[in-house]
Amino acid sequence: MSIKSFAAMTVAASLSPAVLADEGDRGRFALGGYGDVKYETTEAADSSAYSARFVPIFLFSLNEKMHVEAETEISINEEGETEVELEYADLHYFLTDTTTITAGKFLIPFGQFGPNIHPSWINRSPWTPGIYGSHGSNQAMEALLPILSDVGVAVQQTLVLGDHQKIFIDLYSTNGPSVEADDHAEEPVEGGHEEEEVGHAELPELAFEATSGDNNKDKAFGGRVAYAMLPGIEIGASYYNASYDDEERLDFNAQGIDINVIGSHYLLRGEYIETETDGFEEEEGETEIHTFKRDGWYLQSTLQTGKIWSSLAGTELVLEYAETNQLAEASRWMVGFNYWLDARSVIKVAYDDTDVEEGEDDQRFAVQLSYGF
């Protein structure tokens, strides 16, 4: 999407009288979102740079049953060009008190980081957990599931079990991944690649970017079931399956479990993900399907020191560990210090050390100002 088209759309929306019309205390439009400015040094790239993003969220309440929302990420790339990306644009239809149907481009409910924690004013670290990829930044760790949103339909069900207990169920169908344009998955290569199993071909590269098209008729299917004991704990299990090649012979599967513990002065967030990626390989003149398995996890703990000692009001200490196993093995430690200017604005100072089994290690340092609005 060009910046001109985006600007024209924004101006058109702002000129629409319906958008600004209020009826008593019932509104029709609200603007929220977040943004950040980051200074980052990386040893692997031997560089340091400032970067900035602005991520407005447009919310429209059509009526009591229908809600429309869209999030756009506006940023400047390394060449100085302004990039506009549609993170999500969907419609929620509140079918019953506890059932919601969503259609459009929406955040995939896999784990907790993608659907809920990824905004920088919410994430306690200036970086994405390594298993989810870098999302615009650089990182040495090879992601397991570099997907945040996709186009399709979803249904959400909330079961209230008592005063403080709930079960969340999310199911969805989307276009799913496809073969990366320059992928060599169907051309088995011989040794020497860092993402290669001994005696097998190269791990296929998949394109997870959401599109309004698909290279096959198979739709990705997934879901998440979670149990919440409010306000302190949420545990979930997620599943995702899609055929990614033109002939629908090759699958990509992911399973994960996640946990979120909210204490009076600490937070504990973690996820474990397993993936299985099919790929073709030649075996004695015949083409066979081999399944590449990977797994990885991260655990992030936050000690809210400001809640323990009033003289340190607004401060937090963050410690995170992440690792990926089987193909592209790597581990990462991150330590950070956060200072909250108010409930939605934070300055993060962090350092991470990534150890890559077969590849270049990296050490990064970042200072990030992030704000929700």
């Binding site: 209020d22 029709r28 008190d97 506890t98 659907p115 069900q157 399956n241 909250w340 409930a343 939605r344």
Partner: protein, 180 residues
């Protein structure tokens, strides 16, 4: 062979998961008849992020933001309405409030403004804010008065909303907390 069986299991799992979801729709929810909006606010906002100050948005903006948060936090429709009622009370006060001396009942004010949604007394209540059992003894009445009139004066990241309370009502609340 192993590959085929894995595919079969995965394809079979899809309708089973969908069936569970459909069945779950028919399960009767054990939701309370009266829902405390402040308690819903306390129990759900901090699952992902700091609770936002209610002063940050207008009432009409909150009415559009809450459906967004309903889907994001898996709130029920009734819970969403209860949070809106709480926001409405905090922003507008109670137009039917009794302004005579008899209205200065600290315990009634504590419950009316759902202080227990975020704070606890005698172990009962929320955890977003600190326990209030010894707040008057530890900090003094003047601190309490200042905190309720300007909730961010000592902690800029505090999500505490400024309640529509008069000085006399704040003193009544302080008396209730000091004698409880």
């Amino acid at each position: 062979m192993n590959k085929l069986s894995n595919r079969s299991v995965m394809k079979c799992a899809r309708p089973m998961i969908a069936l569970i979801a459909l069945l779950s729709v028919s399960i009767v929810n054990a939701e309370k008849s009266t829902i405390n909006g402040a308690e819903v606010f306390n129990n759900n906002c901090a699952r992902c992020h700091n609770a936002r100050a209610l002063d940050e948005f207008s009432l009409s903006e909150w009415s559009v933001i809450m459906p967004h948060m309903r889907e994001r936090a898996h709130l029920t429709g009734k819970e969403t309405e209860a949070v809106m009622d709480f926001i409405r009370l905090v922003k507008n006060g109670d137009s039917k409030a009794d302004t005579t001396q008899s209205s200065l009942d600290g315990q009634a004010l504590y419950q009316k403004y759902s202080c227990q949604g975020c704070h606890s007394v005698n172990g009962n209540g929320g955890t977003v804010g600190p326990a209030l059992d010894s707040v008057i003894a530890d900090k003094g009445e003047s601190f309490f008065l200042k905190k309720l009139k300007d909730p961010q004066f000592n902690n800029p990241s505090s999500p505490m909303p400024r309640m529509p309370l008069s000085d006399d009502e704040i003193k009544a609340l302080a008396e209730f907390l000091s004698t409880n």
